[in-house]
């Protein structure tokens, strides 16, 4: 079993197709949608974690290619240098997925890597410059 994070782009034509359904049903993939902006007659974007057997992931990606769904495997991850963070919360203002959020008990910043779609908005929103992007080496 492997897990990858991908960003898909739908054209106006394929935005109506049940793409995720096929990935799940035909390729036996576990899909966790992290962020989606898909509406009729518009180009759409979807970011998801995909988990499954290596050969299924490969076939699923080929399926996307056949249906003109552009995709990019997200290899980068956001890294938080916790010891330099002052927990102000400015980064949470721009995080679209809630990966960066405030723990309302002790008001420390929490970072949930799983929810992160590597949009990088937080990097510049952080006044202390303690968030950076790093290649985590995923093929």
């Amino acid at each position: 079993m492997s897990k990858i994070k991908i960003a898909m782009k739908f054209t106006v034509e394929n935005v109506t197709k049940p793409i995720t359904y096929h990935l799940i049903k035909d390729y036996n993939l576990l899909i966790n949608i992290l962020n989606a902006d898909v509406s009729l007659n518009k180009t759409g974007k979807l970011i998801a974690d995909i988990e499954g057997r290596d050969e299924d992931i490969k076939s699923g990606l080929e399926f996307l290619g056949r249906h003109n769904v552009e995709y990019k495997i997200l290899q980068d991850i956001i890294v938080l240098q916790e010891d330099s963070c002052v927990h102000c919360g400015a980064c949470t203002a721009v995080c679209p997925t809630g990966a960066l959020s405030m723990n309302t008990e002790d008001w420390s910043l929490t970072f949930d890597q799983e929810k992160c779609m590597v949009c990088r908005l937080c990097i510049k929103a952080c006044p202390l410059r303690v968030l950076r992007v790093s290649d985590n080496g995923v093929e």
Binding site: V86, H87, C88, G89, A90, C91, T92, A93, V94, S101, M102, T104, D106, W107, S108, L121, K124, A125, P127, L128, R129
Partner: protein, 386 residues
């Protein structure tokens, strides 16, 4: 109503018998014990705040070289400092951008590095005088080899502040952080019920000469802060609705710690300085105790459209802001803080322990802060503006 004097409280601090709690802890204690009993028991309530405060900077005296120079233009690590004072005095403002990386490095970073004890490049120019013949100097300084380095912040510790949103259709970049289009988010500052001036809304105990915790050391309230606006509209509990009182603070940066003073950058806005401040409030009587039990839900502020389009677009209390979402114009909008509550709590806690251990006594103000001033606008006047 029983009255406890400043002297009595200081005697208790000296003898180690003082009872100190934070502005968060006091709420529950008063709830359990009642005002009368709690006012008898509690001597001091500590507050804390840690947030971006642009109106900050340091006065420096470099010492004289041989031959001496009357510095006219001064750069520290490539950041201009104001040298229009005596020969080797200068003021370095926190928001001054560097000439090489104006949106990444500035006065605040130099201040943080000075506090950290690092060497700073000093370059200064002069026209040369009979008494100060040198025209140029290039050397390095640090906090150990210069004469003085004291922080003098014209405006800190704002008593309440407006929350910010953006009603325009594009993302805007402000000193209140990145604001998403169409009211996409709300940011807010101040530490709410822990914030110094919100616990002494009528400036009964915080005034000129008050000893404070600033940047990890002890400093003082030097004056009212700039834009001090005690005349702000107030709720029934006396707490202002929106920005009101401010403090000008002074403290020795040679004794400060980078844990409590940090440089920051707001994207496409510029440089700022996060300043950690804590102020103790003596519980002189029941009224003072009641003031320190202010809760987040009792502190109301305005939500201002920072795109400049609509002005005030709503009001909200800090409990709502802290909940992470607020209703604005019928929509649920996510909120994000800009002041660190975690650090504010730490400061209130550190100050509490310093007082308990006899390391911090209270100072009665030598003069009260103005209670009636109002803020003027800058009108565009003069020839060609009619």
């Amino acid at each position: 109503m029983a009255y406890k004097s400043w002297e009595e409280i200081n005697e208790k601090i000296q003898s180690g018998k003082v009872v100190v709690v934070t502005a968060e802890e006091v709420i529950k204690i008063v709830e359990e014990k009642g005002v009368k009993k709690a006012a008898e028991e509690i001597d001091v309530v500590t507050t804390g705040t840690f947030g971006p405060m642009c109106s900050s900077g340091v006065f420096l005296n470099f010492g004289h070289s041989d031959p001496p120079i009357r510095m006219c233009r001064v750069w520290l690590n490539g950041v201009r400092a104001y040298a229009g004072v005596a020969a080797v005095d200068a003021y370095l403002g926190a928001t001054e951008p560097s000439e090489s990386a104006p949106m990444e490095y500035g006065g605040a970073h130099v201040i943080e590095e000075l506090i950290a004890g690092k060497d700073i490049d000093l370059y200064a120019e002069s026209y040369g005088t009979d008494c100060y013949p040198r025209k140029q100097i290039k050397t390095t300084i640090n906090k150990y080899n210069i004469n003085q380095a004291f922080m003098f912040n014209p405006r800190n510790a704002y008593q309440n502040y407006s929350a910010a949103t953006n009603m325009s259709d594009r993302t805007i970049y402000t000193y209140m952080g990145t604001l998403l289009p169409n009211g996409g988010n709300i940011t807010y500052a101040t530490s709410g019920e822990l914030s110094p001036l919100l616990n002494d809304p009528e400036y009964r105990t915080i005034g000129i000469g008050t000893k404070v915790f600033i940047g990890g050391t002890h400093g003082f309230v030097a004056w009212e802060g700039t834009q001090h606006n005690p005349g702000q509209v107030r709720a029934e509990n006396g707490v202002p609705i929106g920005p009101a009182g401010t403090l000008a603070l002074i403290g020795d940066i040679k004794k400060m710690s980078t844990r409590y003073i940090r440089a920051g950058v707001f994207e496409k806005y510029g440089i700022t300085l996060f300043v950690g401040i804590g102020i103790p409030i003596p519980i002189l009587d029941e009224d003072m105790l009641i003031k320190t039990t202010v809760r987040n839900r009792d502190i109301i502020t305005t939500i201002v459209d920072k795109s400049g389009k609509y002005g005030v677009v709503g009001t909200v209390n800090y409990e709502q802001l802290r909940s992470g979402k607020v209703e604005l114009n019928g929509r649920i909008v996510p909120t994000a803080p800009l002041s660190s509550l975690k650090m504010s709590r730490e400061i209130a806690e550190v100050l509490k322990n310093q007082i308990k251990n006899g390391l911090f006594t209270l100072t009665k103000p030598v003069e009260k802060l103005p209670s009636e001033a109002k803020v003027n606008k800058l009108e565009i006047r003069g020839h060609g503006n009619e």
